[in-house]
Symmetry: C3
Subunit: 424 residues, 3 copies
């Protein structure tokens, strides 16, 4: 048995906490194959290969019909990593035994899997087969956080709307409704943000999170400047680009202050441009500009040494910066492998560089980013295979580590640090 | 026999279409070793290692003397991939049996190869040994396109001059001569560009192509703005930087409109700065600024969903952006491995990332970019070896694919998609 | 015996010249383990993992106490490459036989190693065990260069202060003191710089060196512009940002002119931002902005073809640019693997790309950048292992080279080119 296989076997026995997902805790598992194939990773690839968007997103389309339309396009994407996840889900969860899903076999698969998914215990079956102990969520700031087990589905406060859209009255109204506080100046905004953190902390939330465009740089904005901007917004006057940017910075500052007070890690997901492909499918419109640097966060990292920033970067060209910043800043932590960087070739490079240069206590190996519960299994499986090979190669082969030492490092990256950082 | 060897053996049996070259169809094959060693890949490396430019480019120098001057410098570049191409050409085409070409053996090689190259059938011998069915060209917009077999040597309309130099009267004169139309405003420019496409389409052209500097971003420019610029140019008034940029954008727009009308793919080769090394040898003066992003093409990709853009990027730091944009934009296709990225370490990374995340129907694996016909063989051989290893590793080993499946994917990348995209 | 092992064995037998270090020739070797663990690579990682800076940098702290404070944190960084250097030093120099250094064994190691380091011959023992023939230094411009063997410890003129801080009277005073010339205009500055080069050349100096921030671009500045700036500085008037930048460019120009006159290579270390992490430990505060391009040096490389520029880049995203610029510019040479890029995953990629595309005569494989003599051994050992594997894979396996040929290439990269470029 090779070192890789030995290590992998141990890592596969490990139970997991998934520290970042988009799971809806009221409907965590899939209802049918349409929920799985409806994931944007498949719809956007099928669309990219030629399937018109309106066929995928026809209003009121029947789930089975949706799958029927997507299946013929699977042949065009069977090379992709995303397809390999699909196959692994179907094999593990639905006892699918083929090597390809195509027009000849999809309907039987649809029907048999549907039957399983309709079972009362499907959600717990998926959790169990996936070895998941906890699943972190992504919650709108005005989410009630009721009706689910927050020990299993752990809330996280997602703050994109607050930071980038507070100039819109609709967002300010949602904030007022959620907190009972009208944010009309810097003081009341701080109160309102504090009320959000009260609510989230009371419901077992473990982190604050945000995704950020490549050109964002969180600079300090004074209360008096924020007063002017918030009063202008409250008076329904339009803010210009520079005013919007300052308001964003101020809201970001208030959130970071709360993270400091509450000892919440602040997950930064750096580098996404929204709606780049305007006619793309749902959630398949975002891209990036690789011309971004962590130097843009210099002021933030210095100003808030007490806040832990688990950081995800979208472009692989940011991978080394993340390693270097985590190498010297105590509060900067590399976090998972995000979206366009979540394929083996980039995971492998990032995994190696982090293991070679960042303290082992500071690395959070992986999160699934999933929308439906079935995806944790193949995504973590992919990561574990890469991690096992890197540990076998860079540590057992090249540095003379024992397999036991390597496994212990793997466990820490995959599970131990998640507990330590997010205080599970 | 390893999976890599099995796959490679199948890929080597495949006949090829080379979708981007600089072949002169009137003198496609080399006349002597001077044509091969005169390729800028060798002259620039020898110059970089110390051979003065004026010794390489002495006017009227005898071909054999040129080779005699270059040969002593080969020892300094025998580590390079480019040298490995030279050796492979000499072995396959000229029965060279040494492991190095040096002062002791070059002359015999020169003479014996010269004899072969002077044979009547040399061009077809090279095509046959290289397995080439078709070779795509790079034609100036005013190329007559006569005197060669356009089914074998397929014309492509190269448009750098039109887009970046139309402010020069010499280029406008060439356009007028080629089309009979004087481009003095937006309307007549459109007509002239249309006439070029008529001419190229009538001669079996398959694509429009252009290389672009890192700071170019094709923004929309109105007809009325273009009218002003073209009238100013026609009056021999100098255009300032901003006016030149707008004129470039407008010409680019006209070309893209024609590509839409004619269903021509528009090959974009993104990221080259011309004449960076001013005293460099011929064609050995260009470099790049890696600070470029495909976000600069956001407007274009959205505005022309019906135009296919096979895209080459010069910097390896653009590789992931190309994968990501091709992953969601139906009209963005990764195309080959260009110039400074055309060495194994970067090809391997790009090849892996494309195979892992871009629909298999959208990838055009390789083109030679050659100036003389002999180069297709070693360049494609290099690519096939890398492709075979990636298929064996990432697909057969890591994903359980059969060798037959892997070969089929390789064939599609290497040949099938070239036919599909360029409509050969 | 594998090709890798055969090649490695030959490379390990090679004696070395280390072309860039920060060794103090008056105290080259370590005095105790505190000198080794006090290296910023360990203090910054321990601090990043959680050890407060004031515990590391307490004024007047006893060396043994310092080590006692650092040791408990080694468990958090034992995965890092830096830790592997520590272990290798302890094994080779101090006969340490454990696999980890921890609370249970550090004190014995401290005491036994201390005894060795206090021996009269320790410095020569380290040089001998490390196979070091020469060690290049980094000397302040006003270093007396006396009291040590400049054949063994070769001076290099470090010029960051001159280029970036000449607007400060303290630096101008140091320059006046060192040279006897007050630089009050362009002419006297040239004389003063010339006097520095006289002094360094007379003391066997082999290079001029500088580290440069990502936003620096050495543009031409005229004497008359410099006159104004230097007169303003001499009058103790503050220079604004643009004036400081021009003054930096002018000093840089004067240095380059001297390099041309003296045939000194000019080591450029491109891309560091100083003091990014303001509360970081000593020498653990610097980071970078990856948005830098060698195109910023276009004017310089063209203007000084007679000056050799060995170039180090801090960001791995600059690696390919360095290869490409060295591929066509005769005066651009890739130099070692610097700082945040000095870990195996990035060394391997850079090593492969340079060997595949830069003339073999132009590559300087490695320097240690060390502050204490013991570090050359594990750092060069790390590099040699990577080099041996790359040679075995890319050359012996993929290109059919013999082991002898591969070893010869390795020797040239590691030693031959250092002698050739720096004229040792």
């Amino acid at each position: 048995m090779s070192a890789t296989a030995e290590i992998l076997s141990e890592l596969e026995a490990l139970r997991l906490i998934d520290p970042h997902t988009h799971i809806n805790p009221h409907a965590a598992a899939s209802d049918s194959l349409a929920d799985i194939l409806g994931y944007h990773y498949y719809t956007e690839l099928a669309h990219s290969a030629g399937l018109p968007r309106d066929q995928i997103e026809e209003p009121g389309i029947d789930p089975k019909e949706k799958v029927a339309r997507l299946v013929p396009w699977l042949a065009t994407i069977e090379n992709t990593t995303q397809y390999s996840w699909l196959l692994e889900m179907c094999r593990v969860f639905f006892d699918f035994e083929g090597s390809l899903i195509n027009e000849s076999n999809w309907e039987a698969l649809y029907d048999s899997s549907r039957k399983l998914m309709q079972g009362q215990t499907w959600e717990s079956t998926v959790l169990e087969k996936s070895g998941l102990d906890q699943v972190y969520l992504t919650n709108d700031f005005d989410d009630a956080l009721t009706g689910f087990d927050t020990q299993l589905y752990v809330p996280c406060l997602r703050t994109d709307d607050l930071v980038f859209n507070l100039q819109n009255s609709e967002v300010r109204d949602r904030l007022a409704t959620a907190t009972g506080i009208t944010a009309k100046d810097s003081g009341t905004l701080r109160q309102a943000v504090g009320a959000l953190f009260d609510h989230f902390a009371a419901n077992n939330a473990r982190a604050c999170a945000i995704s950020l465009p490549p050109d964002f740089s969180p600079e300090y904005v004074s209360d008096s400047r924020a007063d002017i901007l918030l009063e202008k917004a409250a008076a329904d006057q339009a803010l210009d680009t520079s005013e919007c940017r300052d308001l964003s910075c101020f809201v970001f500052l208030c959130l970071t202050e709360q993270c400091a007070d509450r000892e919440f890690p602040f997950d930064l997901m750096i580098g996404v441009n929204r709606n780049v492909y305007e006619d793309g499918v749902y959630q398949g419109q975002d891209l990036y500009d690789k011309r971004v640097s962590l130097i843009q966060y210099r002021q933030l990292f210095n100003a808030f040494p007490q806040v832990i920033f688990p950081i995800s970067v979208l472009s692989e060209t940011s991978g080394q910066e993340l390693v270097s910043y985590a190498w010297i800043f105590p509060n900067v932590l590399p976090h998972g492998h995000w979206w366009y960087s979540n394929i083996p070739v980039f995971i492998e490079k990032d995994c190696r560089s982090r293991l070679q240069a960042v303290p082992r206590t500071k690395q959070i190996g992986y999160y699934s980013d999933m929308y439906k519960l079935e995806f944790a299994l193949p995504k973590f499986a992919m990561y574990r295979r890469i991690l096992a090979r890197v540990l076998a190669t860079d540590f057992v082969r090249d540095r003379g580590w024992t397999v036991v030492q390597a496994v212990e490092l793997g466990r820490q990256i995959l599970r131990g640090n998640v507990e330590r950082v997010f205080g599970a």
